[in-house]
Symmetry: C2
Subunit: 255 residues, 2 copies
């Protein structure tokens, strides 16, 4: 029997209307939806985003999987194994499986791990990745600041593994995005103060959702335990208008 196709579908950052037409089509046509959630007691964010456009499809199976919000392999590995076993059973029976990913499938997501494992487990299974609007696009849109412009450079860092050597990155890049900054805000604010960039930073959590929060004085967050779905955007903005202003002392990009 020809196995079913596996899809990794980015459902966008939070607002249901930021799904792509392709995502809606794939999610409506798949035999099985594989849907991550933080625990069996939690509503799935990915499904909350997709449900308004996908709705109830006759005969479609929804599989919910619990992926703890952790980087601890001993917690994650059993969750991945459970998901892979259940998905494999459907795929090898010829059923298509669409795995829903918050944001984009290939930006720090569970699907990256599943993709690697899927290739090893089921080399005969065809895989398609449907790109989505990631927080990398959504957060600048919400703030109406450029991600990058003209000659600018962008660094994207997972905050939990970047606070120790954040200063040189902040100094060398025009825009720095610190993802999942929630648990390390204090250290991130300290690095921003050391580089004199604390006024150039903005905190955004749950962008494009009803719970969206924007904090422009990030010093006030120093002691907060912030949201998991959160980002710090740091814009030096020294080269802004470079092309519009013509020549000038900033024109060589020096700081």
């Amino acid at each position: 029997m020809k196995p079913g196709k596996l899809y990794g579908v980015g459902v966008g950052p939070g607002a249901p209307d930021l799904l792509t037409l392709r995502a809606v089509d794939v999610l409506r046509r798949a035999h099985v939806l594989a849907i991550p959630r933080a625990s069996q007691y939690a509503t799935s964010l990915a499904w909350r985003i997709a449900a308004p456009a996908v709705g109830d499809v006759a005969g479609q199976e929804r599989l919910f999987f619990e992926f703890p919000m952790s980087k601890d392999p001993s917690l994650l590995r059993p969750a991945w194994e459970t998901a892979l076993d259940a998905m494999g059973e459907r795929l090898l029976a010829g059923r298509s499986v669409a795995f829903l990913c918050e944001g984009d499938s290939l930006v720090y997501g569970t699907f990256v791990y599943l993709l690697r494992a899927a290739r090893v487990r089921w080399p005969e299974v065809e895989i398609e990745v449907v790109p989505g609007v990631s927080s990398i696009s959504a957060v600048p849109a919400v703030l109406q600041v450029p991600l990058a412009d003209g000659v600018e450079r962008v660094a994207i860092l997972p905050a939990t593994h970047a606070v120790d050597d954040l200063v040189p990155v902040l100094e060398q890049f025009d825009t720095t995005l610190l993802l999942k900054v929630g648990s390390v805000m204090r250290q991130a604010v300290a690095a921003l103060e050391r580089t004199g960039l604390v006024d150039r930073a903005t905190y955004v959590s749950r962008a494009t959702t009803a719970e969206q929060r924007i904090v422009r004085d990030v010093r006030t967050l120093r002691s907060d335990k912030c949201d998991y779905f959160s980002m710090l955007v740091v814009r030096r903005d020294e080269r802004s208008g470079r092309l519009m202003d013509g020549d000038g002392p900033k024109d060589d990009g020096s700081t």
Copy 2:
């Protein structure tokens, strides 16, 4: 009279079904579509992407603007002025204007300049940015490689202003995206060879369109004049599977 609203709408990387539901809705409802193209003899890529979903809307005006593919302010400034004048006339007459952006509106796009100018010219005009699937998401999806995973870091650079100091970036980041690499392929390949990463680089142009081109041996491109809508993706991939493999010599992220 209340002025019309200005929208910057990312239409995605090239495939018409990678528009978001919100983009389709905004583009159908706007009184005026402002559509960039490379010259008056060229088909607009942005409109080619959006047209299948947007179609002909009764009473909707389409304004085409020529933005030369250049970074030369003396060529671009008159083009921006023409576009701003025409858009302003409509906005101040109470008509909504949606500016179409290939990919995402805030990633190295014309809209970044228009946004800055709009705020100065028409402080009373409400602005909304509709994020789109950018090439930063689309190219990894096409290649089925992670943009970032676990503890990895991503650098995004405009190739034309990055080839001279590319080596340290390639050494410090797990994924490097070199955008608009077309005119500097020779220098980019030289930097990749110096860092021993030439086998870790992939060239993609016009991702998700019918003209999509993927080249896995980028040395063969050294002498080509490549496409403007092109990207080099460099993945060190040293930490891949870090969480899945558990502990080991790679676990501290050292190289």
